[in-house]
């Protein structure tokens, strides 16, 4: 059934039309109520996702990427978190204008969400088919639920849909559970799928299968995918555009080829160098010195400057750089236009030791 689907093509240079923009996030800010007043955890994040394209939101822990994803759906884990600024436009509608009931209708129907650990999101006491059906019934669909459930399970490339639908979560493997969650997320045929670390908890061979499934689904259903992850390998192999986050801000945005080939921001460069690739032996182990700043204790000026080999005293530690756009890619750095910044780490031989992480 899957034969004849062309292999993963990268975004063509001609660029999709404007009407294809599914998600348009502008200047998103997320605050948390701290003991001494609100702390801004996510600051001025903007990005778009188009139909049929996979966009990555990449960052390490403390970057704010998961909070950004939650903010898109206005689905925060605790009441102390809230949307403090910016706009989210989904399929041309400003989500801020929607009331709670309309927002609920959007979640699940226009946007599907898949999270990291499949076991915690499935009710252990209910057969999985019924759980997918719940997603449909929650959005008011009464007829043809069973048929749609079987159709979805087949779409997920799970064998014997009828038998699988009757199984309980503990009778399925980790990869199969994640497929069920994806099925539930896509039940109402949403245009956008937000996946937060969907394969991190899975074995690497299973991860490859799930990622391939996501690629096929994206192409077949013209799904827009927002992939949140820390794994640069996954990003390189499945996404067309990448947004890199650091300390609550977007520090670089580019198409996947240019990002990996010629990263502009020193953090992105350092991150790529840290990845243990096929050729990294012990002599070549590279690490960015220092550690991610604690939320609420951001450095003054550029948030990356304490760890940056090119930081200029007097400028980088005083003035926060703006995101400088240039032909489809952007970098939040004072020296974004300077070609020498492309080799930020070459000159400085950082040992990467001694400073705590």
């Amino acid at each position: 059934m899957m034969s004849g689907i062309p292999s993963n093509r990268h975004a063509d240079a001609s660029g999709p039309a404007e009407e294809d923009v599914l998600l348009d996030v502008r200047g998103l800010c997320v605050d948390v109520d701290g003991a001494r007043g609100p702390i801004r955890l996510v600051n001025d994040v903007s990005f778009t996702v188009r139909r049929g394209e996979a966009v990555a939101l990449v960052g390490e822990s403390g970057s704010g990427k998961t909070l950004t994803a939650c903010a898109v759906m206005n689905l925060f884990a605790t009441p102390q978190l809230r949307l403090a600024g910016g706009e989210v436009w989904l399929e041309g509608r400003n989500l801020a204008t929607l009331g709670p009931a309309e927002m609920r209708a959007v979640r699940g129907a226009r946007v599907g969400m898949v999270f990291q650990d499949p076991s915690s999101f499935l009710d252990p006491l209910m057969p999985v088919g019924r759980q997918i059906g719940q997603a449909l019934r929650a959005h008011g669909r009464r007829e043809g639920v069973e048929a749609r459930v079987l159709e979805l399970i087949e779409l997920m490339e799970l064998p014997q849909p009828a038998q699988t639908a009757a199984k309980y979560p503990h009778e399925l493997s980790g990869g199969q559970r994640q497929r069920i969650l994806i099925a539930a997320a896509l039940a109402m045929d949403p245009a956008l799928l937000i996946a937060d670390e969907p394969t991190t908890a899975l074995d690497v061979t299973v991860q490859a299968e799930i990622l391939k499934l996501l690629v096929r689904l994206r192409e077949r259903l013209r799904l827009g995918v927002l992939l949140i992850t820390h794994d640069l390998g996954v990003v390189a192999q499945t996404c067309q555009r990448v947004n890199v986050m650091y300390a609550g801000e977007l520090v670089e945005r580019a198409e996947v080829g240019p990002l990996f080939g010629a990263p502009r921001h020193p953090y992105t460069q350092g991150l790529l160098r840290s990845v243990l690739g096929r050729s990294t032996r012990r002599e070549a182990l590279f690490s960015i010195p220092g550690g991610v700043p604690i939320a609420g204790q951001w450095p003054v000026g550029c948030r990356f400057h304490p760890r940056c080999p090119q930081a200029e005293a007097g400028r980088c530690d005083r003035e926060a750089p703006a995101l400088q756009d240039e032909a489809g890619s952007a970098s939040r750095c004072h020296f974004a236009a300077d070609p020498r910044i492309l080799h930020a780490w070459d000159a400085a031989e950082h040992s990467g030791q001694g400073v705590t992480a």
Partner: protein
């Protein structure tokens, strides 16, 4: 990311105190308990009369001159008897709970840590004690050994330890698989030290909570045993007062009402304390006022 936000360096004691005193109900409970402890310790000074001294002023209603809560059928002052009764209640409550905690923690920790047949045997013993009906046990003990406060403490302790043992066993069994326990083994620590130093401090929270709830139920059990005449005939206890008041339930309501109220307030206070401790010691769930 959120954990990083609240990195204020509050000492553990200060944080516990703050979380405990957050709720109004806890402050009331703590106040009540302090009052009870003082009443127990300073009973002769709190009381207005000798609690054992009868008089001819029998069955006086409350607010009679000199007798705030009235007198019973033998002319004894009710207020003084209630105050003195605090001693027995708190003594039995705390002592039996201490016995239950000691037995329960030891058995539970050993069963949870070693597992296997030790666990099976110990838990069957615990279950046996759980199935004993409390009055039958009390009757047997008193029939064989006579009635006294100490016997009461032992009986109630023997009834309460299995539940503590179960909770401790479950927590210890899950903890003993934690990597830091393996690390302690690899560091050369002997098993008994591991249980004492590594595992039990992490079990302290449920023990404390259950212990305080145990006190409440112990007081209730003591009252009911005394009510049925199985308590210490020489001690002044609220349950004993209820026993005396049986014939006078309608004619002299104050003979039963005040000891009953005392029991209710004490049990409520300990329950509230246990509840508050549970919330305060639970590492998650910081409630915003």
């Amino acid at each position: 990311m959120l954990a990083a936000v609240s990195q204020t360096r509050e000492s553990r004691g200060a944080r516990l105190r703050r979380r405990l005193l957050q709720r109004g109900s806890t402050r009331v409970a703590l106040g009540l308990l302090m009052l009870m402890v003082m009443a127990a310790l300073l009973a002769p000074w709190f009381a207005t009369h000798d609690p054992l001294a009868g008089s001819n002023d029998a069955l006086l209603p409350p607010l009679s001159p000199g007798h705030w809560l009235g007198t019973d059928d033998l002319g004894r002052d009710i207020w003084s008897r209630v105050v003195h009764g605090t001693r027995v209640s708190l003594l039995v409550g705390i002592a039996s709970s201490a016995l239950a905690v000691t037995l329960g923690v030891t058995v539970g920790a050993v069963a949870g840590y070693f597992g296997g047949w030790i666990d099976v045997v110990l838990m069957r013993i615990a279950e046996f004690f759980q199935t004993l009906p409390r009055f039958v046990l009390a009757l047997i003990v008193i029939a064989l050994f006579g009635a006294s406060t100490t016997k009461l403490i032992v009986v109630i302790g023997l009834l309460a330890w299995p539940q503590m043992a179960r909770v401790v066993r479950a927590t210890v069994a899950s903890l003993q698989q934690a990597p830091f326990v393996d690390a302690a083994r690899v560091a050369g620590m002997p098993d008994r030290t591991i249980i004492a130093k590594e595992i039990l401090p992490n079990v302290a929270a449920p023990i404390i909570v259950l212990g305080s709830l145990d006190i409440a139920s112990a007081i209730l059990i003591e009252a009911s045993l005394s009510f049925f005449g199985l308590g210490d005939p020489n001690a002044i206890s609220w349950g004993g007062m209820l026993n005396d008041a049986q014939q006078f339930l309608r004619s002299a309501w104050w003979m039963s009402a005040f000891p009953g109220l005392a029991i209710a307030m004490t049990v409520l206070a300990f329950n509230l304390l246990g509840d508050a401790l549970n919330d305060a010691l639970n590492p998650r769930g910081e409630r915003r006022p």
